[in-house]
């Protein structure tokens, strides 16, 4: 029997606390779309996506209306495109990107991810052509997101790819200079990239996946923040200990995850395709009250970046996983708390005041999901320094057997402290200063591979 207080708590969660399903992402295998040439392949790609996703957005909206829970983004992820376009040159990959963009527009999805490659051990000639195509491909498309896996706990870090990527990030920002380098916000570099992540820019449909699959990304920083405020108000700060707080986060995450599970199952049923995973990430939006940074401040640091921030984030991340994992049949993707600076108003403010620096963010990424995400840096920072920042983050993921990622935006012509605003879910933030610029080029110049850590040899 449903209890009144539970009913009212759920109503509060949906109506006042920004609960939504952040993303329903349909994964589509494109390996069978390979034709004799670029044009033939593009035609098949558009045809397959068109058929697979014909009713996708409409069904998401229908289920969303029935349950009264907003599904904020409807997205598609595809097989990493470097596999689909094996043998193509950079122009061929740009054509593929344009074709994916047309398919995404026709399917009415918000974004399509999977313009990607996996090069953690070595690069083929195709992979190099793919990398060379990224700036133009992203500049000429509206809805395409790119990602590349350049490191893993098993294979180490591909330093040749890393050097190329440092330059690619610069080129991407430069080619979209009139949009403050927005192109770089659509490209993310990974270590241990999961093949079932529904969140962008890093969503791909992994090679290990079935032909079609549906993954769901839940959200809920606002719900967690309000639940904690209510707990502190009703029980009194002096009567609570940290383990009580962790317990509240677990229970709240359970409920949030269940909403995602329900929506995912119903959309899957309607479409007749397999339901993959729920990604438990606490994903903030620039909306006030929907911030991971705010949770950290509620839990006891006056400003994000102050000592204690990393420890609190570690507890938050763990409690989110514990609460969510029981709520869902299958959990996957990134599953943790995101700290994307531009997309989180409280983090952006802390970055602007100087309380939160790049090095502290790096430390925080050791204990949370993903990594250095949506961070605007001065356009003057050189490619080798960007590559070296990425290398540090990749090393954290590699050694700790976790997914880490980097999405830096070197804003052309702007310096630290100036504001960059991409609008919508991409948000706004003051540009963060980078210390010790130009001092890492000898390291990046080595190339080759950083060997995998000793604990990767478990056979």
């Amino acid at each position: 029997m449903l209890r009144s207080d539970h009913i009212l708590a759920t109503v509060e969660m949906i109506q006042k606390e920004n609960l939504d399903v952040r993303a329903v992402t349909m994964g589509i295998n494109l390996l069978d779309c390979r034709g004799g040439g670029v044009a033939e392949t593009c035609r098949r790609v558009e045809e397959k996506i068109g058929t697979a996703a014909a009713r996708f957005v409409e069904t998401c909206e229908q289920v969303s209306r029935k349950y009264g829970i907003p599904v904020v983004n409807k997205r598609i992820s595809v097989t990493p495109i470097a596999f689909v376009g094996a043998g193509f040159d950079r122009h061929g990959f740009v054509e593929l990107a344009l074709s994916l963009d047309r398919a995404a527009t026709a399917a009415h999805v918000d974004i399509l991810g999977g313009f990607s490659a996996q090069v953690e051990k070595g690069m083929t000639a195709t992979d190099r052509e793919y990398i060379a195509s990224i700036p133009e491909a992203l500049a000429r498309t509206e809805k395409i997101c790119a990602s590349i896996n350049i490191a893993s706990s098993h294979k180490g870090i591909n330093m040749d790819a890393l050097a190329l990527i440092g330059q690619t990030v610069k080129d991407l920002a430069e080619i979209t200079r009139d949009q403050d380098g927005f192109g770089a916000a659509k490209f993310v570099v990974f270590c241990n990239q999961p093949g079932d992540n529904p969140f962008m820019a890093g969503a791909i449909h992994g090679l290990e996946e079935a032909d079609l699959v549906l993954n769901v990304g839940v959200s809920g920083p606002g719900v967690v923040a309000r639940a904690l405020e209510r707990l502190i108000q009703t029980r009194g700060r002096e009567n609570l200990r940290l383990d009580d707080i962790a317990e509240e986060i677990k229970q709240t995450t359970f409920r949030v995850t269940r909403c995602g599970e329900l929506i995912g199952r119903k959309v899957s049923e309607e479409l007749g395709i397999e339901f993959g995973v729920v990604d438990l990430s606490l994903s903030p939006t620039p909306t006030v009250g929907d911030s991971v940074g705010e949770i950290l401040e509620i839990l006891g640091v006056d400003v994000v970046g102050a000592p204690g921030s990393t420890a609190i984030l570690a507890m938050l991340n763990d409690a989110v996983k514990k609460g969510g994992i029981f709520a869902s049949k299958a959990v996957g993707g990134l599953s943790g708390a995101f700290i994307p600076v531009m997309e989180d108003a409280v983090l952006a403010a802390a970055a602007g005041s100087g309380a939160l620096c790049l090095e502290k963010l790096e430390a925080m990424t050791c204990v949370c999901s993903v990594g250095l995400d949506m961070i605007p840096i001065p356009g003057s920072v050189d490619a080798a320094t960007i590559a070296a920042i990425i290398a540090d983050e990749m090393a954290i993921g590699m050694v700790n057997n976790k997914t880490t990622a980097v999405r830096l935006i070197p804003v052309p012509g702007k310096e630290a402290g100036e504001i960059v605003d991409f609008g919508g879910l991409f948000g706004a933030s003051p540009i963060m200063p980078v210390r010790n610029v130009g001092k890492s080029s000898r390291f990046i110049a080595w190339g080759g591979r950083m060997p995998a850590p000793i604990h990767s040899f478990k056979n």
Partner: protein, 185 residues
């Protein structure tokens, strides 16, 4: 299988009412099918369905209750069912929604919602209300299986909420089950 009867019992609340009522049914060799009870402001109310042998009449059942050595008076109504009833759960609609309504207490609130449901062909399966510090809360379980468009109901409900200065939320019951129950079917 004999006959089914529906019984309604009301009394001032006290320990032992359930034992008394079911004792009467047991004495008459009745078989209890389904029951629902609640207590409101110290008053006990129960509705129950039981089957009896053909020889037993509603008057026999009422007589059984009147002979109880009870400290409180049980007010009983017994009716014989025209056709045997299925237990409620078996035919339960898939389109059960939960409507929550909150607002400042004033007369006519429940009537307003009742009228809304009536005008829209919505059956109220369950209704509970509470009053706390002037805030009146209604929680209704509604069967929307005969409704053509839930969207249209939401739109009309939003208008009704605005006109009557009430906060109303209509959500599918699956959502509440998902967020509060361990099993998710």
């Amino acid at each position: 299988m004999g006959k089914q009867m529906v019984m309604s019992v009301m009394s001032k609340d006290r320990p032992g009412i359930v034992a008394d009522i079911t004792g009467v049914i047991y004495q008459l060799k009745g078989d209890l099918a389904d029951l629902n009870q609640s207590v409101l402001c110290d008053y006990f109310s129960m509705i129950l369905i039981a089957s009896f042998d053909d020889a037993v009449t509603p008057e026999d059942v009422v007589a059984g209750f009147s002979h109880l050595p009870s400290a409180t008076k049980l007010e009983v109504v017994v009716k014989e069912m025209e056709a045997p009833l299925e237990p409620a759960q078996e035919g339960r609609s898939q389109e059960v929604y939960v409507l929550t309504v909150q607002g400042q207490n004033k007369s006519g609130l429940v009537h307003r919602i009742g009228l809304f449901c009536c005008q829209h062909g919505i059956n109220i399966l369950d209704l509970a209300t509470t009053l706390s510090r002037g805030l009146y809360t209604m929680i209704l379980q509604l069967d929307l299986s005969h409704v053509e468009s839930v969207d249209a109901i939401r739109t009309d409900l939003a208008r009704c909420a605005e006109e009557s200065d009430l906060h109303m939320v209509l959500q599918h019951e699956d959502l509440f089950k998902a967020t509060t129950e361990i099993t998710l079917l």
